[in-house]
């Protein structure tokens, strides 16, 4: 007999002590851990743990484009392949790329493209492979963050890093960094990404309803969260090299 579990959402998304279901404050991020250089065969790679999300990203390139008709004679292209593992969600996900994955691949491509100097690499492609091993809300934001990190690790010239976070509204209150259940049962969901070289939004999607004032406040909350995420990104990139420096220093003493 097939196991049927209906999606049951709690009536309240806040606990009695005023905190969110996982014990966070309204504008608190989930714990984030980033690491670069995790895959030795890729030109650049990164791993991200964002709450329960676990995501790998690998970068190859610049290299020849296959199929060949996609190549542009005057500039390079960025191709992003976002995939979810079959075991990453509660009910087995079909492994074939579906509508949602194609959409997310496209939005990540459009989001990261402005920071790259693609005009310097005509006829070639940078390819980013994102594999979601475990998903719990906000994977498109986490994937954008980790893809930018992997590109930086590969030594691709970039104008700046790209950071991304989702903000939203649950039970009438504005919150930052929605988890899976808040995403599904909440009132509004607003993923956004920023390119730091011009301080402009590179991604803005919206689902739900929210007043204009709430939107403005959400975006300023997002800005604060994005600054924290950017700090974690730069630290992760530097740590790969500073850890070797420290090892060498210890060896000398």
């Amino acid at each position: 007999m097939p196991l049927i579990i209906n999606d049951v959402y709690p009536e309240k998304l806040f606990r009695e002590d005023g905190k969110r279901l996982d014990g966070r404050e309204n504008n608190e991020l989930r714990p984030i851990k980033m690491e670069v250089g995790v895959l030795s065969n890729a030109d650049g790679s990164a791993y991200l743990e964002w709450g329960n999300n676990k995501i790998y990203a690998a970068v190859y390139g610049p290299r020849e484009v296959h199929p060949h008709h996609l190549a542009k004679p005057d500039r390079g292209i960025l191709r992003v392949f976002y995939r979810m593992a079959t075991f990453s969600v509660f009910e087995r996900k079909r492994p074939a790329p579906g509508r949602r994955e194609k959409e997310i691949s496209m939005i990540i491509t459009d989001c990261i493209e402005p920071v790259l100097f693609l005009e310097l690499y005509p006829g070639t492609a940078f390819e980013v492979f994102i594999e979601v091993m475990d998903a719990d809300g906000g994977t498109r934001c986490a994937s954008t963050t980790v893809a930018a990190l992997a590109l930086a690790d590969a030594g691709v010239p970039m104008r700046s890093l790209v950071s991304s976070v989702a903000v939203g509204k649950i039970d009438g209150q504005l919150i930052t960094d929605l988890s899976g259940i808040e995403d599904k049962a909440g009132e509004a969901d607003l993923p956004c990404a920023i390119t730091w070289f011009n301080d402009e939004l590179s991604l803005l999607q919206f689902d739900g309803d929210m007043s204009l004032d709430e939107l403005n406040e959400s975006l300023s909350n997002a800005r604060k969260a994005l600054e924290k995420i950017h700090q974690i990104q730069s630290d992760a990139l530097k740590r790969k090299y500073t850890s070797i420096l420290e090892e060498v220093k210890e060896g000398d003493d």
Binding site: P62, E64, V156, S160, Q233, L245
Partner: protein, 258 residues
């Protein structure tokens, strides 16, 4: 011994000790003093021309009034004059195609593959007329070649006419990250001299990140490969040459090599 004195002179600037070993990430603001500093290698001015920002993950270096970022990771971009180790991947009567670890495959035309010093007089030809004999290669051959032309749009073109260039019949080829090649050579070739003296190996370093090695025996070659890998991981640290000579001496004792 084949040496790369020319290359080490060219790459001297990357090996400057004045580099303050500060690691920067893409987008990091290097300075807001645009009047006294100019953006150099690996940097860019922002749109308002008020800040100089880094483009790569690398080490910040201030040279005169230029700010450079020496990359720690990256890929090889062919430049005319570079020596490269190339692998023949395709051949036809008109040209060879070679893999040079860049985004495009390189081309070698037979007119640039003339065997050195072997120009024969044509039988029955006019006096003084000579025939150039092009060398033949097979798919899978390893060549040391020089780039004669390379740009953004066209495939790079190679030549085999020159000192130290030609087919390699023996030895081992290993690959490292191309930005770390200057470290293998060292300031004025100090590191490469050290490696050669201590491991009794012939080394030929090329700018596309490939290194050709030929030693007296396999133990020395293994030791050298380990040493090169160590240099690659510790490329951004200070005092590397001294540490490497210590490391090789220690490893020699451990492995029982004289």
């Amino acid at each position: 011994m084949e040496n790369d004195d020319l290359e080490s002179e060219e790459l001297d600037e990357f090996e400057s000790e004045e580099t303050d070993r500060e690691i920067v990430v893409p987008g990091e603001v290097l300075t807001e003093d645009v009047e006294h500093f100019n953006p150099g290698r690996g940097t860019i001015l922002n749109k308002e021309r008020t800040k100089i920002i880094a483009l790569n993950i690398g080490l910040k270096q201030i040279k005169k009034n230029y700010i450079n970022v020496i990359p720690l990771r990256g890929f090889y971009t062919p430049r005319p004059g570079d020596k490269v180790i190339a692998l023949v991947i395709d051949k036809n009567p008109v040209k060879y195609k070679l893999d040079i670890n860049a985004k495009d495959t390189a081309i070698l035309k037979p007119k640039n593959a003339v065997r050195r010093g072997k120009i024969k007089a044509l039988r029955g030809g006019a006096p003084g007329s000579r025939r150039m004999e092009a060398e033949e290669f097979d798919i899978g051959d390893i060549l040391v070649a020089k780039i004669i032309s390379a740009d953004r749009l066209n495939m790079p073109e190679l030549t085999l006419v020159g000192k130290y260039l030609g087919k390699k019949e023996d030895g081992i080829v290993i690959s490292i990250d191309p930005p770390k090649i200057p470290r293998i050579i060292g300031r004025n070739g100090s590191m490469i001299k050290l490696l050669k003296n201590l491991t009794k190996c012939n080394i030929f370093v090329t700018q596309n990140g490939r290194i050709w090695i030929k030693g007296e025996n396999i133990e020395y070659e293994r030791l050298l490969i380990d040493a090169i890998n160590k240099i690659e991981t510790e490329a951004h640290t200070v005092g590397l040459t001294d540490r490497m000579s210590q490391y090789i001496e220690n490893e020699k004792q451990k492995r029982g090599i004289k």
